[in-house]
């Protein structure tokens, strides 16, 4: 089985779907000739041509809106936002047109919107955001967030094949940092959670880049054995997997790189409060980015994004509860 980076796995998934389904085409800013700001589509234009690897005008509403129209007449567009932050300019089309079309009109809109998200490299307030909760709160959109190279490929293929609009969160900080074995050919990863590491005394629930922060923070914790649950999909949310880990471990730390209020982790906490209360042996603990924009300068950025030591400390305190 080949070993790939997270970024190579995304490219591989895209390439396989482009080869296998002529309805699939890509749209985005600088994705064709330049190969994308992060080089996800490097070399694609040579294989698939400029029509299927479409360099678009700088128009995010246009990218999402025209993708909706193309999907309505039988295409399977994959849109790239250059940075997830820029989806704010295409928010209306995604949330109001794509997300509600099947419920309102019986017409599903099979588009995939790739959102390179997350901070950790001095991207500043407009190149570091984690906007997944915006879309969790918008009925009719699925939201996935892979943490590993294998899932990056498998979830992307699932997203493209899904007959509904799917928001695909790809964490920029994982692009070249994470490597793993990835099956060749095509395979679909289910929109369910995955136990990243088994444990018994406490579970850290995370997704995306924070899965790796959680694994690192709890790898050698002497105070107890820590499970790490990788959500992988935020809509649908794998409620049974979350509750099973809570039942097993009885102590929960929920980790978000997103701003804390109404984050995905807040929804997980609410679920546990409603349906897992009897299984708890301590308060639900949340570690998340405070409700501020992501600052540019490294000491400021590190002060707000959840750090390994911070997660370690939260786990120690809860284990001692």
């Amino acid at each position: 089985m080949p070993t790939m980076t997270y970024l190579q796995a995304i490219s591989d998934g895209l390439r396989e779907e482009m080869r296998g389904d002529e309805r699939v085409f890509m749209m985005g800013e600088d994705i064709g000739t330049f190969g994308g700001a992060f080089k996800v589509t490097d070399g694609f234009i040579e294989e698939f041509g400029a029509d299927r690897v479409m360099d678009t005008p700088l128009a995010e509403s246009g990218i999402v809106g025209t993708a909706i129209g193309a999907a309505a007449v039988g295409m399977r567009p994959v849109c790239e936002m250059q940075f997830s932050d820029f989806i704010s300019c295409g928010f209306d089309q995604l949330v109001n047109v794509a997300g509600k079309m099947y419920y309102r009109q019986g017409l599903p809109i099979p588009i995939t919107v790739r959102l390179p998200s997350g901070g950790g490299f001095s991207g500043g307030p407009f190149h570091s955001q984690n906007p997944e909760a915006w879309f969790m709160h918008s009925p009719g959109l699925k939201v996935v967030a892979p943490a590993t190279a294998e899932d990056a490929k498998g979830l992307l293929i699932s997203a493209i094949r899904d007959p509904n609009p799917v928001v695909y969160m790809e964490h920029k900080h994982l692009y070249r940092r994470v490597k793993g074995e990835v099956p060749g050919g095509t395979f679909e990863t289910p929109l369910t959670a995955r136990v990243a590491r088994e444990g018994e005394d406490l579970v850290v629930i995370a997704y995306g880049a924070m899965v790796h922060t959680a694994l690192e923070a709890t790898a050698d914790l002497e105070e107890g054995s820590v499970e790490v649950l990788d959500l992988r999909s935020l809509v649908p949310l794998d409620e049974e997997a979350i509750l099973a880990s809570v039942r097993k471990c009885s102590k929960v730390v929920i980790l978000d790189e997103a701003n804390a209020t109404c984050a995905a982790g807040a929804q997980v906490a609410a679920l546990i409060a409603e349906r897992g209360f009897e299984d708890l042996d301590g308060p639900v603990v949340r570690v998340a980015t405070p409700d501020v924009p992501i600052p540019f300068s490294p000491p400021l950025e590190q002060a707000v994004l959840p750090q390994v030591d911070q997660v370690k400390e939260a786990c120690r305190e809860l284990l001692a509860y």
Binding site: P57, T66, G74, K100, Y102, Y103, D162
Partner: protein, 356 residues
């Protein structure tokens, strides 16, 4: 399947188009009568409390959707605005389903999920609009983009109002369509007011003049003349499917009623309304077809009977089951391939593509 080129059907009868038969001209009147009759009856149902929410109509603007939609082929695709009911009627949505839609009944086009004219029967090639305007300009542009990518001689059309030209999606769609030379027709329904805001508070430059700056033609048409609307749209479609790119058609008309049922439009000068009343699109088309010997009284009676039957049928339809309110959020992949937009009716003699 409809043909892709217009079959000239020159017949006698004064009008802006040489491509309409006597029957076509009578059809244009019939569709306008249906639209006005359905909306008037719906307003009555609204006042009787049978139509929830508010009610929006296109009184006086019937020619805009009638003429434009009549020029579209079965395989073309439409994104229809809320004062363009005739487009739905032409594509094949029955009066009963429209009344049921207004009343929020299970048999309405959206089964009660959506109100008033926020619908599109996807089986007939129409996409239901959203309230954020003009979002559907981009959706129509995307359809046209797919047609071009696949090398299909098809066309997309969308309607939007004068107020819509102020929003960013207008620019993004105009630029995108011009840049890629897409087979899309933009119908700017200039009815003088965006809710209460008049044109001189909406733009400094007439939007039809802007089309050229985006690289394609803009034409201004008498929006109260169904035949002029048909002809301008027919020409735009010919250009679109032969690779000539988009067209902006400004349909100059007047919103004769308030923005919605609650709006007494005190902000509109009375003489402006009176001036436009003399230009009623239905009266104009009636005069034309009377000259051609069409029995307009018989046509009116036929339309009224169709509407009466539609109201009766809709009133028999049940309200939706509250237990279904959270259904149908996602298409289940286990149910196979999801639907895409289907072909609608194309009754113009140049196509003669009417589903039976």
């Amino acid at each position: 399947m409809a043909t892709n080129t217009a079959r000239p059907a020159t017949e006698e009868g004064a009008g802006p188009s040489e491509h309409l038969t006597r029957e076509d001209r009578a059809s244009l009147l019939r569709y306008m009568l249906l639209m006005r009759g359905i909306e008037e009856r719906a307003m009555t149902l609204y006042r009787q409390g049978k139509v929830p929410g508010s009610f929006y109509d296109g009184y006086g603007q019937e020619a805009v959707s009638t003429g434009a939609a009549f020029a579209m082929a079965a395989e073309d695709r439409l994104c229809v605005l809320h004062r363009d009911l005739a487009a739905h009627i032409i594509r094949g949505v029955t009066p009963a389903r429209i009344f049921a839609q207004y009343m929020g009944r299970a048999g309405g086009v959206t089964g009660g999920r959506e109100g008033n004219v926020h619908f599109g029967d996807h089986r007939l090639g129409c996409v239901g609009m959203v309230s954020m305007l003009p979002d559907m300009m981009l959706v129509a542009t995307g359809m046209a983009m797919a047609f071009k990518l696949r090398g299909e001689a098809r066309c997309a059309i969308t309607w939007f109002g004068d107020g819509s030209t102020s929003r960013g999606d207008f620019h993004e769609a105009m630029n995108w369509a011009g840049l890629q030379g897409l087979p899309v027709i933009f119908v700017l329904e200039n009815n003088q007011y965006a809710y209460s805001t008049p044109l001189d508070q909406q733009f400094a430059v007439d939007p039809v003049e802007r089309a050229q700056a985006y690289g394609f033609p803009g034409v201004s048409v008498d929006g109260n003349d169904a035949e002029a609307m048909f002809e301008a749209t027919r020409e735009a479609r010919e250009r679109a499917i032969s690779g000539g790119g988009p067209t902006l058609i400004e349909a100059v008309t007047m919103r004769m009623h308030g923005h919605a049922a609650h709006d007494d439009m005190k902000y509109v000068p009375k003489d402006q309304v009176e001036e436009w009343r003399k230009k009623d699109p239905i009266e104009r088309q009636e005069r034309r077809v009377v000259e051609l010997g069409v029995d307009v009284e018989a046509l009116r009676a036929e339309v009224k009977a169709e509407i009466d039957a539609g109201v009766e049928e809709a009133l028999q339809m049940p309200m939706p089951d509250p237990g279904t309110a959270t259904d149908q959020l996602f298409w289940d992949p286990a149910d196979g391939e999801p639907p895409i937009l289907g072909d609608g009716n194309a009754p113009w003699s140049g196509f003669a593509g009417v589903k039976t």
